[in-house]
């Protein structure tokens, strides 16, 4: 059972794959208990403001809330109308207003403006603010709804905090460390303690500390642990993997249609009707659960086969008598219709994916990515990236390629950096000046520093810290970015495999199948190695290249 709390995207499909292969793994805990807990707590809070009330919800809380407590339940607890928080004047006639929001300064300011304008107009109302997952330092009395974890599927949990990455890695703000700690603490109190904790990264360490404090203060639990191990890993330990294009089915669906909070919206071109439809993509969808981790090349074959099977099943009715027919309708028909519907959707989605990817010259894109990962024919890759930018193919993909280039090559040559940046700005807009500044701050897209080793940088920085009269801080000091050592890591961990014979994507031999055999995801490899060794022994070289901060603890 693996929990990756740091991926901003909740999908950790490659780990799922690894999971299913371990026959000795215990069955999954029932994570839906977490939903019930969260729902009960919310109801308790709502009932503290008795009577009819209007509820204002933060936009990105709407989907998660739906999974916890739907409209019916809310109405049962006297919620009258539902509004989205939109930072503009409200139109609500209710005497009681309840706000369910993330702890953001802008939102709280908006609420206080609202309250003040009510006061000026002589309007009297009651107000209640509920922060989730936790309140921040607020001047006002508020509640918190400790809705830490949303189960997205049988084996995927998410904190659903879209601002996490930016706040933590770009701004260097540590406000979410305790949230991570709280989430782990919650899991522990519901499911029993963990026998082992491994981790790597600055934030992983902080979250662990926070969690440990919570544990020490709380009551001791002597329940049988359901979770054996926990692995905490910072997102910036492995930026390479999310920059590579996905070619498993679920990844492609996310790429094209955007999976949010475990569900996705399919437009008319997929549904073959004039309507759009929103569906939940979980293991409840039996078609999806079978193809989600498959390389896209296997998907068509699978769907074709399923379609054939479905046809056969339907055709069974032809030879049936009344009795048999009745039984069929009672037992089987519903299931078949469900399957039919799902199959139709996924076939439509596959077609759509195929069309879009062909149009975008996906094959060439993959080729370039693989070259970059291997460190092979870099100039050609740069030429491709230039063309990609010039053709204005896709703002995000162009940027992804640039970042991949930067990380695998330890930064761009100065002339390349300036030229590509200029072309990007011309193709996609001048205000991306700000985008480039942010990416540089993150260490995702930067110029090569000429002839500087780590130790030279370190001593420079060390000197500045001691010299308080110096007003100027170098970029290295104020940036949280780590030096990337991808090539060395890749060699050491054999991330770019060389295969003698053909690599069969249908029966993959290792994790590299996710990238068509070109690359084994760094973070996954790392986790695999640590679990095998039950610790970090033998991986000292690796952890040094990852800038340290690794730990392993037994029994909490």
């Amino acid at each position: 059972m693996f929990i990756s709390i740091y991926s901003p995207a909740p999908v950790v499909w490659h780990l799922q794959m690894a999971q299913t292969e371990r026959r000795d793994a215990p069955g999954l805990p029932d994570f839906f208990q977490l939903k019930r807990l969260a729902r009960d707590q919310l109801i308790f809070l709502l009932e503290e403001l008795p009577g009819k009330k209007d509820l204002f919800i933060d936009a990105d809380l709407m989907s998660p809330l739906d999974r916890i407590a739907n409209v019916t339940i809310l109405k049962q607890h006297e919620v009258d109308k539902l509004y989205k928080v939109e930072l503009k004047p409200i139109v609500s006639g209710s005497d009681q207003l309840c706000f369910l929001i993330r702890p953001r300064i802008k939102t709280v300011k908006w609420i206080s403006d609202l309250v003040n304008s009510d006061k000026t107009a002589g309007r009297f109302r009651r107000y209640k603010i509920i922060f989730t997952p936790q309140k921040f330092y607020a001047y006002v009395t508020t509640d918190e709804w400790n809705f830490y974890i949303l189960p997205l599927d049988d084996d995927i949990l998410s904190l659903e905090l879209p601002e996490f990455f930016r706040d933590t890695f770009l701004e260097g703000d540590q406000r979410w460390m305790t949230t991570g700690g709280g989430a782990l603490h919650l899991l522990q109190s519901v499911y029993g303690s963990f026998s082992k904790v491994y981790g790597i990264g600055r934030c992983a360490k902080m979250v662990y500390e926070s969690w440990r404090e919570l544990t020490e203060e709380g009551e001791q639990r002597t329940r049988q642990p359901e979770f054996a191990k926990v692995f905490l890993i910072d997102r910036d330990v492995d930026y390479v993997t999310p920059l590579c294009s996905q070619v498993v089915y679920e990844g492609l669906v996310d790429d094209i249609f955007r999976i949010k909070c475990g569900s996705v919206e399919f437009g008319p071109d997929v549904t073959s009707s004039d309507k759009s439809i929103k569906v939940m993509l979980t293991s409840q969808d039996q078609v999806f659960s079978e193809i989600r981790n498959e390389h896209f090349s296997n998907v068509f074959g699978f769907l074709s086969q399923k379609a054939k099977n479905l046809q056969t099943a339907y055709d069974k009715r032809r030879g049936m008598d009344i009795q048999q027919m009745k039984a069929f309708v009672a037992d089987e028909l519903k299931g078949l219709k469900q399957e039919h519907r799902l199959l139709s959707l996924h076939i439509g989605a596959s077609e759509s994916i195929m069309k879009k990817k062909t149009k975008q010259d996906f094959q060439e894109l993959l080729k370039t990515e693989h070259s970059l990962l291997e460190g092979f024919e870099t100039r050609e890759s740069i030429a491709y990236i230039e063309e990609h930018i010039n053709r204005q193919v896709s703002m995000i993909d162009s940027l992804r390629l640039l970042c991949l280039l930067s990380i695998t090559e330890n930064g761009l040559l100065s002339k390349d950096y300036r030229s590509l940046k200029a072309q990007y700005l011309q193709s996609y807009g001048m205000d991306h000046l700000l985008t480039f500044a942010n990416l540089r701050q993150l260490g995702l897209l930067e110029e090569q520093q000429t002839g500087e080793t780590l130790t030279v940088m370190e001593s420079k920085v060390g000197k500045l810290v001691n010299d308080k009269t110096v007003g100027k801080l170098t970029d290295a000091f104020s940036s949280l970015a780590k030096k990337s050592n991808f090539r060395a890591l890749s060699k050491r961990l054999a991330l770019v495999p060389k295969y003698g014979e053909e690599y069969d994507l249908r029966v993959p031999r290792d994790m590299a199948y996710i990238f068509s055999g070109a690359y084994v995801p760094l973070s996954c490899k790392l986790i695999e190695q640590v679990l095998e060794r039950d610790g970090w022994t033998g991986l000292e070289e690796v952890t040094r290249m990852l800038n340290g901060q690794e730990f392993a603890v037994t029994g909490l």
Binding site: V71, S112, D167, Q174, H295, S304, L366
Partner: protein
């Protein structure tokens, strides 16, 4: 990294990658299409019992009774005027101290309150720790209480030393909210200069402070801080970022102009300059085109305004609309044959002006923010005549690039001249052989080759 690798295609077609390609004519894909047809044509029995199975969705695709659906319903009912616009003035005092105790006064008073006293409701917490009298708390205790969301007061940390100890303690607790809370207190109780000075050597606290100022929108203070830190480029970028908040293009243009003097890096300064001049030009074009009624605008109505579009898009737009427009107006004239090429050239003067006029970029024809080979690409896509293309090809600095672009678009004159300058007879000959025998280019090459004065290399 150079390795001995087989030829490109061979490598890519090798076993590793043959498994799958995203190409339309794949066998698998046609099988998929077949399955789709099969599935869609499957006949199903009577649908009366279907209702519960199918997820009920509304016209917008949201499942009915979902929160998003409900929010949309409320919003649209408001729009249709069913909701009252004005708040009723309720004379019954619903603000009572009983009930939840979250009184209105405490809510908004806090933002102007000087002393920092925060109380939190204890939600299902069974024990009180008996220490509710806040001013006796030590440093550690204070931090712990802040972490737990319990009441605390920072007022007793009066001396600078105490305040700094408090800050350092907060930082070591790793909780971003606590750090920010302490910073808020220090912001109020320390002079700007002292606070800045102390933050310089405290990286974590500094980051939190900057983030806090960004979130509260205290632009001036943030600028002062960055300046004190010597982070002039960051200062410039922060200031520049404000342009995103200006909706009106005229005001935005003026704002960008004011950004030109900011301490950007050299490259970025040039980009901001381009941004300004581009917007200036776009405003003019937009003004004119908004009212345009010529055929090309009717036939291909604009989907969006040109304002704030990237340079490349603007160029495509100009080529498309302005070349076409002028061509239309020429069609009605009788003496088209006489005008011929020259007329066409003149029609491109509008596009030309994008690069030539001083008021656009302040550049003469010699320079442009966009590399000229890109300009040539775009012009060619818009069916610019060869003569025009040649003009721009000639402006390409790099001789190799110039030649390859010229070959790509068959700009004969440029090619011939280049070969001539290289004194390469063989190249000239081989190129000549590709041309039509009685074309002017062919003859030109013949003339050159028979010119005794040229000392050929080969």
């Amino acid at each position: 990294m150079s390795r001995a690798k087989p030829e490109d295609d061979e490598y890519w077609n090798s076993s590793k990658y043959r498994a799958f390609t995203f190409e339309d004519d794949d066998d698998e894909f046609s099988r998929l299409k077949e399955s789709k047809r099969a599935v869609n044509s499957m006949l199903v029995d009577d649908d009366e019992d279907d209702v519960e199975d199918v997820e009920r969705v509304s016209w917008s695709g949201e499942p009915v009774e979902s929160i998003s659906w409900s929010v949309k319903e409320t919003a649209s009912s408001i729009r249709s005027g069913s909701e009252q616009g004005f708040p009723r003035i309720d004379t019954t005092p619903s603000l009572s101290k009983q009930g939840s105790g979250y009184s209105l006064s405490s809510l908004f008073k806090a933002f102007s309150e000087s002393s920092v006293r925060a109380y939190a409701p204890e939600l299902r917490r069974p024990r009180s720790d008996g220490k509710d009298f806040v001013s006796d708390l030590s440093l550690d205790e204070t931090i712990r209480r802040m972490q737990k969301g319990r009441g605390f007061s920072l007022e007793k940390f009066r001396s600078l030393q105490d305040k700094l100890l408090l800050l350092d303690k907060a930082v070591s607790a790793h909780d971003g909210n606590v750090i920010t809370a302490v910073l808020i207190y220090l912001k109020r109780s320390l002079s700007k200069e002292i606070l800045f000075r102390e933050l310089m050597s405290r990286e974590v606290a500094l980051r939190h402070y900057i983030h806090f100022l960004k979130e509260t929108g205290e632009q001036k203070l943030l600028m002062d801080l960055l300046k004190a830190l010597g982070r002039t480029e960051d200062m410039a970028l922060m200031q520049y970022k404000e342009h995103l908040n200006i909706k009106d293009e005229g005001r935005r243009k003026d704002f960008l102009k004011s950004c030109l003097s900011l301490p950007f890096s050299q490259d970025d300064a040039a980009h901001v300059q381009d941004h300004y001049t581009l917007l200036e030009r776009q405003i003019i074009i937009e003004e004119y085109d908004k009212k345009a009624v010529t055929d090309v605008f009717k036939k291909f109505p604009r989907k969006a305004s040109i304002l704030n579009m990237p340079i490349i898009t603007t160029l495509y737009y100009s080529c498309f609309y302005h070349y076409g427009e002028l061509e239309q107006s020429f069609k009605h004239k009788e003496n088209i044959p006489a005008l011929g090429a020259r007329a066409k050239l003149r029609s491109w003067s509008d596009v030309d002006s994008l690069f030539n006029t001083k008021n656009w970029l302040g550049y003469t024809k010699k320079r442009s923010p966009i590399a000229f080979h890109r300009v040539v690409d775009i012009l060619q896509k818009n069916s610019a005549p060869v003569q025009v293309l040649q003009d721009y090809v000639n402006l390409i600095d790099d001789p190799e690039l110039k030649l390859s672009v010229a070959l790509k678009y068959k700009c004969h004159d440029v090619i011939i001249n280049t070969y001539r300058d290289l004194k390469d007879r063989q190249l000239l000959v081989s190129y000549r052989d590709k041309l039509e025998q009685d074309s002017p280019e062919y003859r030109k090459i013949q003339e050159l080759l028979s010119n005794g004065q040229v000392r050929w290399k080969n």
